[in-house]
Subunit: 431 residues, 2 copies
């Protein structure tokens, strides 16, 4: 092996700049850990002329991606440019020409992860993607190494910083979704087009990656049941608060008897639950293992330096593996056949907010519908709506299966005495 | 390499039984990860005749420790019997005869860790000890792998489950230390002799191990400034609550400009701090990295299966390394010279509870003493003490250095108008 490890970067946005800065500043520690220096040899960018931070040596820049991909001196490609289809082709080329790959690209890994991992293994290359899930939190390592002896049965994550920031501010300040979103956009916590965040797609990608790894099962992005948080109202959050719950956009992946469910949806958690105190743009992933019980990994879910830290940690692992001559063996292909739960196997509690006619017999009609679907109440709250002849009924159910719940929901929406179903959410984290 | 990995166990208490149970139950997954089966070949116990769980094949048991240490067929020794001096000799023998070692023994690693790691490296052997700190939480891996690209500047941990259980119950139920301790002993959360837990020694061992690894500095157990929590009173906790703080027994290791402080003491944290909501017997370690910012690892700090999970995860790493032919290279010797902060370099806020004479001039005398030591107030509370001509003054200071604080403390204790200094604690986790 050569006396140094040479890296090529694809992309030089905030994460790429962070990677270069960390490699510069921590040369001594990196060398101590790995036993040889690391140098950045080339960086592919779209526009060479653009203004960049001082750390970046302009002579490294190229606007020809092939200059990086086909440079025979480069050992490791770090992909921080984003994109799915063309990026996948670039990385396949890199792997096939024997280059190791570190990527922060969740969009790519959520869709083409298994294919890329297989090609990496076939070519004796490492492919790591810690930064693709929950930025600076070493959660993928936690699953592959730390909990390797355990059987993971459940993962619950706050894996999108934008929506957690919005829900935190809505809860704490009583502001509306629209106002907080605007504020988040001004502060840089939300994109100008926030759709992928607020509608849950970003979180779904991360949960697909987590489920693949944690359950060793080839679960695709399409398997994730997704519900966004843009319709969560201040009234919903007020009732949550009254009932002792906190609303979070929760990614959930659960396995029982080899059958898996996977979803992203606004979910009520008891205030005491550790995920309920994960605020602002922070991320956290709660992992249940059969042996270990409950563990949680908490940290920054995004940001230039946290994400770059995860990238460089992966780079360190690649460098160690190169030095030891053991690349291409780290992440295993899924062991289990894909097996998804049907609705009747999915067990949960639910929050329902109904607007009902405030007249005799209403309550009885509602409760008997619940009873006939074998859904019982854990908590019940009825509140008059000022100035109208309707009341709001808020229910938290006991555990029920999703099939029963959906049937009940359909019947409720047809019931004469119910004016509207204002909202409904999953409830997790209790007994 | 042989077609299976053969393990010898030293000790068969709760953790040892858990290890055997996990290896049995997860054969298929372990084989998938490592590519070969693992078998337990011999188990050294004190008393062969003792009743044990069904999983343990009695023909594996021996009461001669040498039967395990000198069995040429055994590849890996798992040490879960405890003890320091004689256990160290056994493990040195094992390493010198080429056996890899996984240990859960914090007492041993806190004192002889560096020596054992060096001997392991000299003999090309792996030595892992994840289970020695915070049971089932993969915190050592987090430091060595996940945050390997970052520079750790601070670690704050709740690393003793017994004291966290006691403080949680005292806070929640308003019970006395003695009552909760008794209850914890009955429930098995506290030893019959709880000294090492409640006086902070157990936590100090874990912090020494964390600091060695996180700062790559050879810090000894004697370097840890230790204060236990047995003198924390209900009154202290009530004032904490009034002022918006939660009391935890916090292990702190901090590095600034290459200089380190390390302590274990009862500490006030703002209620919003993630460590403040770590309850009961749970552990958590807060890690600050220059790049990553704040991360936290949360989970069960003890218990048969969580601890055994950490042991078996280490075993998996050893097995992978054996298979890849790369043992003896994982954990590096400390890079930095030991360099401890002096008191005047240690910066913190403090909580002080003073009992003062309730007469004119008292307050002025106290405040001028604070001022003359350049210690200013962040919060101040004065409460009359019923039926006595004294008052309690509770102060939370702004940041000051420890030298100033200790000088102030000594002067306060000599001041005529102060009847007694009821208690004093460090305050962390804010700005």
């Amino acid at each position: 092996m050569s006396v140094e490890v040479r890296v090529g970067l694809l992309g030089l946005g905030t994460v790429g700049s962070g990677v270069i800065s960390i490699i510069e500043r921590h040369q001594e520690e990196l060398r101590h850990q790995v036993g040889c220096p690391v140098t950045v040899r080339k960086v592919a960018v779209r526009n060479i002329e653009k203004q960049r931070p001082a750390e970046v040596d302009r002579s490294l820049l190229t606007d020809q991606i092939e200059d990086v991909l086909f440079d025979q001196e480069i050992d490791v490609i770090i992909e921080v440019m984003g994109g799915v289809d063309s990026t996948k082709e670039y990385l396949l080329q890199a792997l096939k020409s024997g280059k190791h790959v570190v990527t922060a690209n969740k969009d790519l890994m959520a869709v083409h992860g298994t294919e890329l991992l297989n090609v990496a293994a076939e070519n004796g290359c490492d492919l790591f993607y810690e930064a693709s899930v929950a930025g600076g939190i070493p959660i993928l390592r936690g699953l592959t190494d730390g909990l390797s002896a355990d059987r993971i049965t459940k993962m619950m994550g706050i894996v999108n910083g934008t929506t957690n920031y919005i829900l935190t501010k809505m809860t704490q300040d009583g502001s509306s979704y629209e106002d907080v979103l605007k504020q988040a956009q001004e502060l840089g916590f939300a994109e100008s087009d926030p759709t992928a965040d607020v509608e849950g797609l970003d979180a779904a990608r991360k949960m697909a990656i987590l489920a693949n790894l944690g359950f060793s099962m080839n679960i695709s992005l399409n398997d994730v049941s997704i519900k966004g948080m843009s319709s969560v109202t201040k009234a919903d959050l007020d009732y949550c608060d009254q009932l002792g719950y906190t609303m979070k956009l929760i990614g959930l992946a659960q396995r029982d008897d080899g059958r898996v469910e996977i979803s992203v949806e606004p979910t009520l958690l008891p205030n005491k639950h550790p995920l309920a105190s994960v605020h602002n743009e922070y991320n956290a992933v709660y992992v249940y293992g059969e042996a270990v019980g409950e563990t949680m990994f908490y940290g920054p879910g995004a940001g230039s330096l946290p994400t770059a830290t995860a990238v460089v940690s992966d780079l360190v692992t690649v460098m160690k593996n190169m030095r030891l001559g053991v690349t291409g063996q780290t992440i295993q292909a899924p062991l289990h056949q894909r097996s998804l739960k049907e609705d009747k196997e999915i067990d949960s509690k639910y929050f329902l907010r109904l607007r009902v006619l405030d007249k005799a017999g209403t309550f009885q009609a509602v409760t008997s519908l619940f009873a006939s679907h074998e859904v019982s109440f854990e908590k019940l709250l009825q509140m008059p709506v000022e100035g109208k002849e309707v009341a709001e009924v808020i229910v938290i159910t006991h555990h029920t299966n999703k099939e029963n719940y959906l049937n009940l929901y359909n019947k409720l929406s047809e019931l004469d005495v119910i004016e509207s179903i204002e909202s409904c959410y999953r409830v997790e984290g209790g007994k």
